[in-house]
Each structure stands twice: as structure tokens, then as C-alpha cells.
């Protein structure tokens, strides 16, 4: 059954919440109305990654890439493109350059990407197992079960150089080896889908767009280490991903790819979903296991590592979603192929969620070793509004900032660590000249303070103390000794905290103090916020040259501290001003200045 055209419609969370569902239904209706069911097949796919431009519709074989498509556009797409073969020019994605080519593979956003983890996202319908199978799905499981011994699987994964994508970068093959070699009557496979870092949604997109790849990999892991039971611990904030996982598991069981006697062998393996209940610390592996056991999600000191003593005290392989998604490809294409991609110490690709002040925000996958410049300027299309790049934050609340000086550093686990940040799970938040580093750092610390489980003192007390210091600095009450104090407490937290959350909580301020010391000094010594974010340090004034006396600011001021008559200069009474910024937002003549 070959269709002349395939119409791929994104059904990721981003596009679905933007009338994507209605768009799909409208296209369905239009196809029926035009009577072209036999020529065009409508396919609901996972995330295209280019969320900024969603909802996205891609038409094959000519790769027309339609963006910001609404239900209203369905008629034109079917009537023009499908029936008459004429592209709908106004909906095609256009780049800001003269030689712009509408084929999707030529778009700058995609050109430097290499999609291994996201190989099926935006290609197949995640709710139909046959589409996954048609793309070599479950072939890796078959190969492992019938052609490979568990030791050979471990060797293949080890040789590939794959390292954990959840942040720490531990070699996956070695983890599997530990669990495999530990004798026990029961072993477990766990998938960490508790994607808690703010600004990161790689795992969500993989689970929504290609859930079978994770199920297949977990089953392979089960065969390899000798486990018959798996858990996927997923955030309850991801309802669509949960739904698609449930659908995928039911289909896999129907096909004999999950459950008893998989593919007719003696190997049985099944998976259960466990929902998170809103605790960030559960992303830490020992806390996650405690949560699956039904307890408060508090970390315990390692060793023993979960690979040896994990869930209910049994050896447990725990990997993150993105790590698992790499496994089937590695078994099929071989470790040699995989290890040819990337840098000396970091193999393969990494998925990043590119967000913040960037033109093309979205989900991207690049080979390890790609530079930040390539990511931000080529793929990301530069900084929104033509502003100046200030820093990119990676690693979430545990990470640090990469400044303009490091734009050309090839990104891998080691290089990021050496410049004071970390790979983390893959959130990459771009900040411009308007973002104040003290404000952002305070935001991250507020997050870790709130999410600290309170078990150990360095994290519980140290975090709170540092937050209070930063809060003071942002309010213009900082003193010069504060910087040294932050450093001292930060060092103590790194050394003495029980788990990763506390050990890495100081990273945001340690990194910003190193690279943006000037900004800290401006706040502390000059009582000024160069980015104009820290409200308590701002002074709003009205430029006499520009004020036309429209009274807009005076009418908006909640404390009536702006005086002036119609068509005459207005003045702000600084003693009464509460620095709410409403006058600044109200002025249409750019006359209100903040300094």
C-alpha cells in the first residue's frame, strides 16, 4: 500500500496544546471531503523538535515544511497541495536568508543535527506498534535474544562508549555488568523518567514520540542482567507520555514482545508504570527507588550502588530515558558505528532542550563535541530580538553558566565540567543582556532550597543561608564579605552533602561568581543592577525630552506618585515610588527610564 503523499502532523504536547488536535481532525475531514483517502495518508507523529514554529505539518515525499498551521489552513493544504500539487507558499517555513529552501532537511535548524535518539520522533505514529516495527523496531531485541549472549550485549554496550544521559555520565555497559555479575534471586530494571530539571523536556518528547524504543531497551537490559521485572518512574506532570506508554505496553504485550515468554523464548519480562508525586529529589536514583518502594523519596548514601543493592535490596539497573533510547540502535548498528560519533571521551549524540531567549526554541540532537556557537547561532537562529548573548545555562539547578568566552568549546561531559558547568540532563537555557545573573542564580537556589529533602544539614542549612545572602544582594543590602561567605558555604556543601542535589546546589552561584564577578560587585558596591532586573535597586525617572504629558503613567501608578498635568512634563516622586514598573510598561514614548 503506497500512498502518493504522507501528511505528518505533530502530536507532541507543544503542538497538541496549540490546536494541534483540531488541526488533525480538520485535515482528516478535508481529506475525506476531497476524496483523496487513497492518495494521502495522514500520520500523527511525535515531536518535530521545532516547537517555536508549531503546530507543524510536513508533507512527504517533497519534504514541504509547513509551520504555525491552524485548523483553518487544513482546507488549503489539502485542496492545493494534495489535490493540485501546488505548495501553499504562505505556510512554508522561511528562513531569513535569500537562498532559503523549503525542504525540511535543508533548514538550518535541522542541518547540523544528528537524530539517533530522536530517530523515530516526527516520523512514526507513536500509538501504532507496526510503524515502530517497520523502522527496525524490536529487531534489536530479537538479535539480543537469538544471536547474542548476555555477555556479548554487555560488551557491545560497553564498547560503544555510551554514558548515562541523566547527567552524571556513568558508563552504561559497566553498570549493566555490575548488576549482571551480582548473584540474586530477583533483579530489577528501572527507567528514570522523573525529568525534574526545569527547562528540560527531552525525555518527555522521547516517551511521547517513540515509547517503544524505551520498552525495547528495558527488555534487552532485563535479558542481559537476568531481570524479569521493570519499572518506569515517570512524572505525573506528563499525562500524554503516560497515556502513550500505556498504549505501547498493551500493544507490545499483544505482540508477545513484553510479558511471558517473549518471542517464544523462555525469557519473560514485564514493565509497570509508577507515577511521581511531585518531589524533585526523586530524580536522584536512590531517592527514586525509595519512592517506588512506597516511602518518602529520600536519598541514601552510596555505596552500595543500586547496581548491586537497589530496589528492595536487589541488584537494579537504573538508567534514564535517553540512555535507553540509544540501546536498540547500538545493538543493530554496532558499537563501532556508535563510537565513531562524538569526542574522545563522550560518544554518540546528546539531546538538548534549547529554550529561553533564543529564536528557534525547541528540541535538538547533536553529536557530542558540537560547539555552543553552532547550537545557538546555526541551529537556534541566534538570540531573540537581536540582543547580545550573555550566557547559556546547562545542567539545571545543579549546573552552571557557559559564557561567550566559551562559545567555541566542543560540548562533552569533561569540557563542560572543566568550565564549571555540567552536561546535566540536557536543558539549555539561553540568556541575553536583559537577564541578571544574580536574579537567575537566586531562582535556582530557591528551587533547590525548596526541593531539599532536609535529611542532611549541609544541604538544608547551607542552601537556605546562601539563598538569604543572594536575596540580600539582590535587594541592594549586600556587603563585600558576602562573596567569600558564599564560596565557603558552597565548598562545604559540595564536600559534605549526602546526595547529588546538595553537592551540586552551589554550582549556579559558584559558576556565576566566577564569570560574572563584576555583576556581583555592581550589586554589592554600587547598589546597581546592570541588567535592570533587581527592582529594588532601580530608579525610574522620566526623560523631559521625550515626555509628551499623555498622563498614561500617572493613571497607572498604583501609589499615585507621578505628578504632572496634561501635555506637561510628568515627574516621579522617588520617596513614594514602590518600583513596580507599571509606568515603564505604560509609556508609549520611551520616556520612562530605569537606571
Amino acid at each position: 500500500m503506497a500512498y502518493k503523499n504522507y501528511i505528518l502532523v505533530c502530536a507532541g504536547t507543544a503542538c497538541e496544546s496549540n490546536k494541534g488536535k483540531a488541526l488533525y481532525e480538520a485535515l482528516q475531514k478535508e481529506i475525506a471531503a476531497a476524496g483523496v483517502e487513497a492518495e494521502a495518508q495522514l500520520v500523527k507523529t511525535g515531536c518535530f523538535g521545532f516547537c517555536e514554529q508549531g503546530p507543524i505539518v510536513k508533507i512527504l515525499p517533497d519534504e514541504s515544511f509547513y509551520v504555525k498551521v491552524g485548523p483553518k489552513d487544513a482546507h488549503e493544504i489539502i485542496a492545493e497541495h494534495i489535490v493540485k500539487g501546488r505548495k501553499v507558499e504562505r505556510l512554508l517555513y522561511k528562513e531569513d536568508k535569500p537562498e532559503s529552501d523549503p525542504r525540511s532537511s535543508d533548514i538550518s535548524f535541522y542541518r547540523k543535527q544528528l537524530r539517533i535518539v530522536l530517530r523515530n520522533c516526527a516520523v512514526i505514529n507513536p500509538e501504532i506498534i507496526d510503524e515502530y516495527i517497520a523502522r527496525d523496531g524490536y529487531a534489536a531485541l530479537e538479535k539480543a535474544l537469538f544471536e547474542m549472549t548476555p555477555d556479548e550485549v554487555v560488551k557491545e554496550v560497553t564498547d560503544s562508549g555510551l554514558r548515562g544521559r541523566g547527567g552524571a555520565g556513568f558508563p552504561t555497559g559497566r553498570k549493566w555488568q555490575f548488576t549482571k555479575n551480582t548473584p540474586a534471586d530477583q533483579k530489577y530494571i528501572v527507567c528514570n523518567a522523573d525529568e525534574g530539571d526545569p527547562g528540560a523536556y527531552m525525555d518527555r518528547s522521547v516517551l511521547e514520540g517513540d515509547p517503544h524504543s524505551v520498552l525495547e531497551a528495558m527488555t534487552i537490559a532485563g535479558y542481559t542482567v537476568g531481570a524479569n521485572c521493570g519499572f518506569i518512574y515517570i512524572r505525573a506532570e506528563y499525562p500524554l507520555a503516560i497515556e502513550r506508554l500505556n498504549t505501547a505496553m498493551a500493544q507490545a504485550r499483544d505482540y508477545g514482545l513484553l510479558g511471558d515468554k517473549i518471542l517464544g523464548t523462555d525469557f519473560s519480562f514485564d514493565i509497570e508504570i509508577r507515577l511521581g508525586a511531585g518531589a524533585f529529589v526523586c530524580g536522584e536514583e536512590t531517592a527514586l527507588l525509595a519512592s517506588i518502594e512506597g516511602n518518602r523519596g529520600m536519598p541514601v548514601p552510596r555505596p552500595p550502588f543500586p547496581a548491586v543493592k537497589g530496589l528492595w535490596g536487589k541488584p537494579t539497573v537504573i538508567n534514564n530515558v535517553e540512555t535507553y533510547a540509544n540501546i536498540p540502535v547500538i545493538l543493530l548498528k554496532g558499537s563501532k558505528w556508535f563510537s565513531s560519533i562524538g569526542t574522545e571521551t563522550s560518544k554518540g549524540t546528546k539531546v538538548f532542550a534549547l529554550t529561553g531567549k533564543i529564536n528557534n526554541s525547541g528540541l535538538i540532537e547533536v553529536p557530542m563535541g558540537t560547539t555552543l556557537r553552532d547550537i545557538i547561532y546555526d541551529i537556534g537562529g541566534g538570540i531573540a530580538g537581536g540582543k547580545e548573548f550573555k550566557a547559556a545555562q546547562t545542567g539545571g539547578p545543579s549546573g552552571g553558566c557557559i559564557t561567550a568566552a566559551f562559545l567555541d568549546t566542543p560540548i562533552d561531559y569533561e569540557s563542560l565540567q572543566s568550565i564549571g558547568s555540567m552536561m546535566g540532563s540536557g536543558g539549555m537555557i539561553v540568556m541575553d543582556e536583559d537577564d541578571c545573573m544574580i536574579d537567575v542564580t537566586k531562582f535556582y537556589l530557591e528551587f533547590t532550597v525548596d526541593e531539599s529533602c532536609g535529611k542532611c544539614a549541609p544541604c538544608r542549612i547551607g542552601g537556605r543561608t546562601c539563598y538569604n545572602i543572594l536575596d540580600r544582594i539582590s535587594k541592594g543590602q549586600g556587603v563585600p564579605e558576602d562573596l567569600q561567605k558564599l564560596k565557603d558555604i558552597g565548598h562545604a556543601m559540595r564536600k559534605a552533602s549526602l546526595c547529588g542535589l546538595g553537592q551540586t546546589a552551589p554550582n549556579p552561584f559558584m559558576s556565576t561568581m566566577k564569570y560574572f564577578e563584576e555583576e556581583y560587585r555592581a550589586h554589592i558596591e554600587d547598589k546597581k543592577c546592570p541588567a535592570g532586573k533587581c527592582k529594588q535597586m532601580l530608579t525610574y525617572t522620566i526623560d523631559p525630552e521625550k515626555c509628551v504629558g499623555c498622563t498614561a503613567c500617572a493613571r497607572r501608578c498604583p501609589v499615585s506618585c507621578i505628578s504632572g498635568e496634561v501635555k506637561k512634563l510628568h515627574v516621579i516622586d522617588q520617596s513614594k515610588c514602590i518600583k513596580c514598573g507599571q509606568c515603564y510598561a505604560a509609556c508609549k514614548f520611551d520616556a520612562v527610564k530605569k537606571v
Binding site: 504536547t13 525534574g196 528540560a200 505525573a236 506532570e237 506528563y238 526554541s361 539545571g396 537555557i429
Partner: protein, 175 residues
């Protein structure tokens, strides 16, 4: 587990007997499951809207755990509530991407519009307000979630309209 823990779909309050019966059903399924406590709590909350003392006591008895231990688990996780919540749980995302794109202003608008603070419920038990830690829809920042619906690129000035659609009993996402 078909039901979603995040959603509080309890529109009408159930009678005491009905609550007891439904709870028994849930406990029957989860009491012998390893680590079944949290799923049981999640389903009970989604069914009854919140976890009352009576419900928690029954759960602790069924799992053969001290009440203090069950209460400890409930207070640890931010999704569990021991007070009644509104029909619609409105969560404003304050993840990094939303934060740098104005998530705080959206939260202020929500507070003003609903007349409640974070963690509170409106008097008519229609809306509860909470903050979220990132819904993974960062490309669309700032984002809010109303039960399971994601609303993207929310403007503070449009918040009132959005809430009104829910109050009017419609689904509200204009789809």
C-alpha cells in the same frame, strides 16, 4: 493505572458509604503490591479530590503501617493534599524557561484574578492555585496547566478569559 494523580476530578462529594466502598476497592488492588502505598494514595486522591484523615487512617490500617508513616509520605510529596481542593487545579509553571519569559507575571495575574494565594482554593471550590516546576513545554513558555490541559504562551492579560471558560463549564482550550 489509568487514572491520573494530578487531576482532581471530584465534582460532587460522595456519600460516606460510597467513599468507603470505593476506597475498599482501591485497597483491594494495591495492599499486597510491593510499594503499593503511593499508587493507592494517588488513586484515592484522584477519586476523592483530597486525602482526609479518615481515608488516610483506613489506608494505613490496610497497609499495616503506622498512621505517622503514611502521613509522613503524604506530607513529603507536593501532589498530595489533605485539604479539599478545587475542581480545577491551576498550576503556573515557574521553571527556568517560563521564568525568563515572564512566568511570574502570569502567576501574579492568576492570583489577582482568583483572589487567592498559591496553595489556596477559591470559596466556590472551583479553582485551586499552585506553582509547577516545569511541565516540559518550555518551547511554549510561559505555560500554565489546568488539570491536564496545557495552555501555552499565556499572557497575563488573557488569564481572566481563560479561567472564565472553565468556570462556564466548558473545556476552555478552544479546541
Amino acid at each position: 493505572m489509568a487514572e491520573n494523580a494530578a487531576c482532581c476530578a471530584c465534582s460532587e462529594s460522595l456519600s460516606e458509604e460510597e467513599t468507603a466502598r470505593q476506597l475498599e476497592e482501591i485497597l483491594e488492588e494495591y495492599r499486597d503490591k510491593p510499594g503499593g502505598l503511593i499508587p493507592a494514595l494517588q488513586i484515592a486522591q484522584s477519586r476523592f479530590g483530597y486525602l482526609s484523615e479518615t481515608v488516610l487512617k483506613k489506608i494505613s490500617a490496610a497497609f499495616n503501617k503506622p498512621y505517622s508513616e503514611v502521613a509522613g509520605v503524604v506530607s513529603f510529596y507536593s501532589f498530595f493534599s489533605t485539604v479539599p481542593r478545587g475542581k480545577y487545579l491551576v498550576r503556573a509553571c515557574l521553571g527556568t524557561a517560563c521564568y525568563v519569559r515572564g512566568g511570574k507575571a502570569v502567576l501574579s495575574a492568576l492570583k489577582k484574578e482568583l483572589g487567592i494565594d498559591v496553595g489556596q482554593t477559591t470559596e466556590d471550590r472551583l479553582f485551586s492555585l499552585d506553582v509547577g516546576r516545569c511541565f516540559g513545554a518550555c518551547g511554549l513558555a510561559p505555560v500554565i496547566m489546568v488539570n491536564d490541559d496545557v495552555h501555552q504562551r499565556v499572557k497575563p492579560s488573557k488569564v481572566g478569559e481563560l479561567l472564565k471558560a472553565y468556570a462556564a463549564g466548558e473545556k476552555g482550550d478552544a479546541q
